[in-house]
């Protein structure tokens, strides 16, 4: 592996270069500001360089696994909050579905942590435990909870569909396949809870005229997921 450690080396060099450059540029704050604007986001967040730099998901299969792990952490955290305090008036069917989803997503999350840990040479390559903030999301509102669940499940399906052909190891591909179809089952169930007497379970908003579901690249998914994730991370190598 060594992808990340190599990158760290590279970045430390860049940070050194930047410090040198700042010295050369003298004490002018205005100049420093200009230089910082020219730096990447992760440097902005990590002006000192070193080991506490912003985590990058990495590249290759490890990067894809970390990417999936980030999404599963989000889903698991969301449903944990949902089942810890169901919205008022939740039906038995809704509680059953949401409890199952809570179980499944926690299992997915813990699976990825174990699988990535086993796959990498350096534990620092495993995405850390993320923290979340749902802003004004009202967990006591059926509409808000189910709409968020729908968005998360549809996003999960699109993310796995879009990342599948980035996976090199066939075993990881099959495992991603084992998970994405369960996410799609979830998406259909949530959609049918929201609007039972309809075609929404596989609606025209997610299945196109060729009968294909949505597939999205990490560059489309990560910024959306970050709406709920407060822990900084980057996906610069996917």
């Amino acid at each position: 592996m060594g992808i990340i450690s190599k990158k760290k080396l590279l970045k430390n060099d860049l940070n050194k270069e930047r410090r040198h450059f700042l010295k050369l540029g003298g004490a002018s704050i205005a100049v420093t500001g200009l230089v910082l604007v020219g730096c990447g986001d992760d440097d902005m967040n990590n002006p000192g360089g070193g080991d506490d730099e912003v985590f990058d998901l990495g590249s290759g299969d490890v990067g894809v696994l970390n990417y999936a792990y980030a999404l599963e952490q989000l889903e698991a955290d969301f449903y944990t909050k949902v089942v810890n305090s169901f919205y008022a008036g939740a039906t038995d069917d809704e509680k059953q579905v949401l409890t199952d989803l809570y179980h499944h997503e926690v299992i997915h999350r813990d699976f990825f942590k174990a699988a990535i840990t086993a796959a990498v040479s350096d534990p620092a390559m495993v995405l850390p435990t993320l923290e979340f903030d749902y802003g004004t999301l009202d967990f006591n509102s059926r509409d808000a909870v189910l709409a968020t669940a729908k968005a998360l499940e549809d996003t999960g399906v699109a993310a796995y569909n879009g990342a599948g052909n980035m996976i090199e190891n066939p075993d990881y591909l099959v495992i991603a396949g084992k998970i994405v179809s369960v996410e799609a089952r979830h998406a259909a169930a949530i959609r049918s809870l929201i609007n039972p007497d309809s075609t929404d379970f596989a609606g025209d908003d997610v299945v196109d005229a060729n009968g294909l579901d949505v597939a999205k690249a990490p560059s489309e998914i990560v910024p959306v997921a970050k709406g709920f994730i407060t822990t900084e991370f980057t996906a610069n190598n996917l």
């Binding site: 179980h103 699988a115 086993a118 591909l173 495992i175 396949g177 179809s181 259909a188 049918s192 075609t199």
Partner: protein
């Protein structure tokens, strides 16, 4: 209409009680699930080649190239497409209901999948087989025999739909690795795969089941002889991780869908193919 009543009728095999030879024939047919693949594997023959020798058909598609993967997919889509066309035309699906909307939407997707795969395969397209969804008279999902009532036929139709959708999910998953050399085709296959999973979830829920597969349970109303469609789903070990550890085996097996091999998919589809 009472779905539980439908399922009871179906699982009690009432439909066949009137006709002993049909029961026998169904038993024989489903017994083949377990034996065909094994026998042919022992004989060293590709399953399809033995069953359908001369035609350019799905018979030759249970291999491991991207084209063969898509040929198998097309055969399964032909099966689903025709099944829903016949079902929607038969009148067994209660008109004006949620169910009718659901099956029209699913049928629309399966028809689109057929056209999409045909276009993708071009000169490598396989012929549409001739299907028999009664499996030699064991089922009557379109209420054609006059021997069972429409409700029984509809219960069978839904059970077969679930079987086809869950089989489709497993079969596409089983072909994913074969599509690695063709990244665009892999992506498209995954996009179909998740649509099949959405279908499966909804049909299962219409039947009063969970949208996900619990252990290797096939659910009420599907004959035991069809168990091979669900065998293997009880797996709780994923890359060395025990998925049953946190919440038990039910949750662990629900959380991961399992693939089937091309040969198993062909064996299942073959039950519904005359030639």
């Amino acid at each position: 209409m009472n779905i539980i009543k439908f399922l009871d009728q179906f699982s009690n095999a009432n439909l066949m009680a009137e006709k002993e030879d049909a029961v026998t024939s169904r038993r024989e047919v489903f017994a083949r699930f377990g034996s065909i693949t094994k026998k042919l594997a022992m004989a060293g023959l590709p399953l399809g080649a033995a069953m359908l020798s001369s035609k350019k058909s799905f018979a030759q598609s249970s291999g491991n190239t991207p084209v063969q993967a898509l040929q198998l997919a097309l055969t399964l889509e032909y099966l689903e497409d025709e099944f829903y066309r016949l079902g929607l035309a038969s009148g067994v699906i209660p008109a004006g209901t949620r169910d009718e909307k659901v099956f029209m939407q699913i049928g629309k997707h399966e028809a689109a999948h057929v056209e999409f795969l045909k276009a993708g395969l071009g000169a490598d397209v396989v012929e549409k087989p001739t299907f028999d969804f009664t499996v030699g008279g064991a089922f009557d999902p379109f209420n054609e025999s006059g021997m069972v009532d429409a409700a029984t036929s509809y219960a069978q139709f839904m059970a077969l739909s679930q079987a086809f959708e869950d089989t489709g999910v497993r079969a596409y998953k089983g072909q994913a690795a074969n599509l690695i050399p063709a990244p665009d085709l892999l992506k498209a296959a995954l996009q179909i795969h998740s649509v099949e999973a959405r279908h499966a979830s909804e049909v299962r829920r219409l039947r009063g089941l969970k949208g996900w597969i619990v252990g290797n349970s096939r659910g009420e109303g599907i004959p035991e002889a069809a168990q091979p469609i669900y065998n293997g789903e009880e797996n709780v070990m994923q890359a060395g991780f025990d998925t049953s550890a946190a919440f038990g085996a039910d949750a662990g097996t629900e959380a991961f869908d399992e693939p089937i091999t091309g040969d198993t998919a062909v064996a299942i589809a073959s039950l519904f193919i005359v030639q």
